[in-house]
């Protein structure tokens, strides 16, 4: 085994070993449990750095895929292994790096909570599952870890299991993701067996590298077959995409994400910044070669992303819970990434995913610090003026906000710009509209983040409990993440600005697509007009927030009164939850109750009727057979006559 593959297995299994150790041995020893979990993550991170040095190093001669046969039935062979290319190493670096910060932060935030060891065991299991998706070499392995992420997120979201709302949120997350997985199952089966039926067992495979060869084949036979079945293959691709829709919380399967804020704040940071929700975007990057040939697939992806970005940004305005604002902001930013994917710019999506992982983890942990400092108060209406009492939290939060709003030179500016410039030259149907939506979302993002910061940190303190700054175990990770949020942009400053720019994009080209560019694929360039439009939008958004909330020059109440129906629509989150609740309460419950009714009143009746008939028949026969010989003789004679008559008639 090459060292690179070995690093891969270490990255993957270190968190699992931590989970196993905690579960088996140290459930009663809190401190040891958290150190084991952090140790596991540290080992994974270390191996990851070594792997990154090799993959991104000057000497690029390495074998990215290491696979073994896991299971083989008939002709179906399911491999297991690690894929260590630029895409997965980059992604796992984010997962382990940001994860490490969150693990450390948790030791401060979770102080005094019950089930400390359980928390760290679940956190490690979650990281293992996520790394499994990232390093996976094939569709089945991805699906397996995809589901494991689902179950470990269920455990983490429902961490406060005595609270019904937390349990409901966990269940909702799991079931919504199951619906996505349902589509994904279909996509995988359809893809695999279409290839089997057309190209035979030899060529069909679950492995990404082998699939990529088929999509990029030069053999005219394969090209012809792939073209003949492009409709089916595009359908399979979109079905697999439903899995990503659920995990990356795109409309209409986004409903679980805001509720998932019921989990502890570090969990929100882990899931909604660096890991779970990023999995969908990552998967599309990994499978981008399957999306690229089909304009319809790209169009669906782009529109789904654009719509999600816009809808979620709207809802963020009317939230009072600081974590909920961030949750809807996450939805919106994920929509951004998906929009970039649909525009044929997976590198831009990965770039934004990376910067977003840093600044959103920073913002979530910052909000966690605020919540901790305000004695578990989450309502922004009961905060205010915290910049004086929590200076470190304040400054780091400001950096995160600037990055999220897309103010140059913070990292978010560069990645947002990459997405907007991709959208401005995109090819999918309605691309100009999507570009307009993207700019609008940039404005809205700046505005709602401005509102959030002003309400939390400026003005007068409106709460009751005395706020205080958080301990070093919490502010430390904040500083680390803030630094990353400032500088992560250098990963891919566009070529037009810096000579060494576009590094990330360049590194990812081989991993996300073939070495050739597809017609729908957009090569990133720096467009000054887009940068100006984006910056103006963001500044205008901040200006609006300032006028409404800080200076109070314009009255927010009269504005709300003017757009009452829209405000209600946003407050009700477009009635998605109501619609789903109606479906569950009416459709699902009706089916269950109908089947229950059939069970009790139809099937049992039939069985009882059969039994009753038998009994009745037995009773009648008993009346006949009453022991009188003459009746038997009569019956026998009668029978004989019938038989003879039958025979005669038959002849």
């Amino acid at each position: 085994m090459e060292p690179l593959a070995l690093y891969g297995y270490i990255i993957l299994f270190a968190p699992l070993v931590a989970t196993a150790l905690i579960t088996c041995f140290t459930l009663k020893h809190k401190a040891v449990s958290s150190w084991i979990a952090i140790g596991g993550m540290l080992v994974a991170f270390g191996a990851n750095v070594l792997a990154a040095m090799q993959v991104f190093g000057a000497d690029a001669s390495f074998e990215p895929v290491h696979e073994i046969e896991w299971l083989s039935v008939g002709h179906v062979m399911i491999p297991f292994g690690v894929q260590m290319d630029a895409l997965s190493v980059m992604m796992s670096l984010i997962v382990t790096g940001v994860g490490l910060c969150i693990f450390v932060f948790s030791t401060g935030y979770m102080k005094g909570e019950d089930g400390w060891s359980r928390y760290f065991a679940c956190l490690s299991l979650f990281s293992f599952s996520m790394l499994g998706i990232v390093l996976s070499t094939n569709l089945i392995q991805t699906f397996i870890f995809w589901e494991l992420v689902g179950v470990s997120s269920y455990a983490l979201i429902g961490y406060y299991f005595h609270k019904d709302s937390a349990v409901d949120a966990g269940k909702k997350a799991f079931l919504t993701n199951r619906i996505g997985d349902f589509g994904m199952t279909w996509g995988i089966i359809l893809l695999f067996y279409t290839l089997v039926d057309t190209l035979g067992w030899e060529r069909a495979s679950f492995s990404y590298e082998k699939l990529k060869l088929l999509y990029h084949a030069s053999d005219p036979l394969i090209v012809q077959v792939m073209a003949d079945h492009s409709g089916t293959l595009a359908l399979a691709t979109l079905l697999i995409f439903t899995g990503a829709v659920a995990k990356s919380a795109q409309v209409p399967l986004h409903v679980w994400l805001p509720d998932a804020m019921e989990g502890p704040t570090p969990v929100s940071a882990l899931m909604h910044a660096a890991t779970m929700v990023a999995a969908g975007v990552f998967l599309v990057c990994r499978l981008f070669f399957m999306f690229a040939p089909y304009e319809i697939a790209l169009g669906v992806v782009a529109w789904m992303g654009g719509i999600t970005a816009l809808l979620a940004a709207g809802v963020a305005f009317v939230q009072h819970d600081i974590k909920k604002v961030l949750a809807y902001s996450t939805l919106s930013q994920l929509g951004y990434m998906v929009l970039a994917l649909g525009m044929g710019a997976p590198a831009a999506a990965m770039f934004h995913l990376t910067t977003h992982a840093f600044f959103k983890a920073l913002l979530f942990l910052g909000s966690g610090s605020v919540i901790y400092g305000c004695h578990h108060e989450q309502d922004m209406r009961k905060m205010g003026g915290l910049r004086k009492t929590m200076p470190v939290t304040f400054w780091t939060f400001m950096i995160g906000t600037a990055a999220l709003a897309g103010i140059a030179p913070f990292s978010g500016f560069w990645s947002k710009d990459a997405i907007l410039s991709a959208a401005s030259v995109g090819h999918v149907p309605g691309a100009p509209i999507l570009y307009g939506m993207g700019v609008l979302v940039a404005l809205m993002t700046a505005a709602y983040m401005g509102r959030c910061v002003i309400l939390t940190f400026f003005g007068e303190y409106r709460g009751h409990a005395k706020p205080h700054e958080s301990p070093v175990s919490m502010t430390g990770p904040l500083v680390v993440l803030a630094t990353a949020s400032v500088f992560a942009g250098v990963l891919s400053i566009p070529k037009g600005i810096s000579e060494h720019g576009g590094w990330l994009e360049h590194a990812l080209v081989g991993a996300t697509t073939a070495p050739v560019w597809f017609p729908g694929m957009h090569e990133e360039v720096f467009l000054p007009s887009v940068a100006i439009v984006g910056t103006v939008a963001a500044l205008f958004g901040l200006f609006l927030a300032y006028m409404f909330y800080a200076k109070k020059a314009w009255s927010i109440d009269s504005f709300v009164a003017a757009v009452k129906p829209l405000h209600t629509l946003l407050e009700k989150k477009y009635y998605f939850d109501e619609a789903y609740l109606w479906l569950v309460a009416n459709v699902q419950q009706t089916i269950a109750e109908t089947c229950g009714f059939i069970e009790v009143h139809v099937l049992r009746r039939i069985v009882d009727a059969v039994a009753g008939t038998t009994r009745w028949f037995g009773g009648q026969v008993r009346l006949l057979l009453d022991g009188h010989l003459h009746r038997y003789v009569t019956l026998a004679l009668f029978g004989a006559v019938v038989i003879i008559a039958a025979v005669l008639v038959g002849n």
């Binding site: 039935v73 002709h75 699906f143 589901e147 005595h162 199951r178």
Partner: protein, 544 residues
Amino acid sequence: MLLTLLTFLPALGIPFLFMTKDVKTQRMIGLATSAAAMLLSIWLYFQFDPELTVLLADTSQFGFSVPWISVGDAFKINYSMDVDGVSMLLIVLTGVLGFLAAVNAMSIQKNVRGFYAMYLLLLTGMFGTFVAMDLFLFYMFWELMLLPMYFLIGIWGGPRREFAAIKFFIYTMVGSVLMLGAFLAVYFQLSAAFAAPEFAGQALNAFSIPDIIAHQSLIFPGNDALRMVLFVALFIGFAIKVPVFPFHTWLPLAHVEAPTPISVILAGVLLKMGGYGMIRIAFPWFPDAVVTAWPWLATLGIVSIIYGAAVALAQTDWKKMVAYSSVSHMGYVILGLASMTEEGINGAVIQMFSHGLLSGMMFLCVGVVYEQAHHRDLNRFGGLLKLMPKYTFVAMIAFFGSLGLPGLSGFIAEMFVFFGAFKSELPHAKVFTIIGTIGIVMGAVYILVMIQKVFLGEPREKQLHPFKDLSFREGVTLWPLAIGALALGIFPTPAFDLIGPALHSWRKPFVAEIRGTEREAGSLPPGLIEIRDAVEAVQTEEGK
């Protein structure tokens, strides 16, 4: 002779039960006997070579056949037994569950001697059914299971035990009668056919299951209608045991009333008799009928999957919910078997084994709580995670396994069933499979709702005696199954290696039948079929 030993080893313990009056010693006898049977079954597994797939051949490892009862020349019953990979897997399952249920049964107080006598007799019946290769012998063991089960439910069961026992008995009896009728028809037809001069000197026996399978085309050749009738009779006979919708209504009642160890055996092993009977008897005797009946079989499979899940969701009795989950899970077995693809049938058999482990665990889990709470009302629990953390941990393995979580056994089985059903060349296979996959989501719904009601939240009722966490004995029964479910989920290859060769040769007549039907229907030009067959034959050879 090892198979005879395995079969009658449990029964050997019965006389010892009657030599002592001491209840504890009786328990020890029951336990030791079932432990010996388990060890023997595991030992057999390690000795077994799965590549030997021809039953009752000279090469077979454990197989043998000796004349037993003969009436003149016409009526020859052999005492013959053999195993292939499929029955070996189920024998191991029987051995393990048989022992674990016996451990669980140590809490039984009422008439311990009688209980273990019946229980050991039941074990003998189950092993016998899995190894019998003679129709008469098979039927005898089949009925032998029925009687002890009747008493075990009827005497040691819950409040409505007698009604449940009678319902179980009559239902199963109806199945047996249908089966017996078909057996006799086949026997008389084949014994006449085997008398033909061309078979002289081949010593064919119309009671021998392998002989019947090898010459199934001689059963009323050309009379498709009659063959279909016989297949349907056999299918219903076994479907009642599986149970397949709509023949399942005995199951919830029997489960609810049966004591915990008997529920474990009932769900874990007895339900497998149905699937086993289809694999060993109903399907290979009438491959043409199976292919014709595919749309019906697939429909019954997916209706069982979805209907079972929906009814499970509507239950308030925890044990009933678990019982209906069995209906849902066994639907996968029917769908997979009927698909007649390598993936589908392997998945179906693994699903049988996996369901044995997981449903056994689930019933044990329900039993642990029931013994303390004395009720099973889902709306009256809550917060068990806080009160019984160890118990919750192992219970989660069972319930998430049942939900089809990757890493546990159920996932592998369901995945291959869907692969196989989708790939099947039979008509509308893709439509059936799409509908069937709805079961994935529905399964998650009822399991999660149950977990929320029982394990999470706050306790809804004050308990007279506070719940005690998993005792040592309960741990001993649950953990081996949990480890088995994990092992099968993570390293499934040994199980597939065990059943693969047997199922590979089992499938051949069906494939021939499907291809033949295609040829008749003209769905593919004749030349193409031959080319495809030739290509596949070459591929298969290369694959070896």
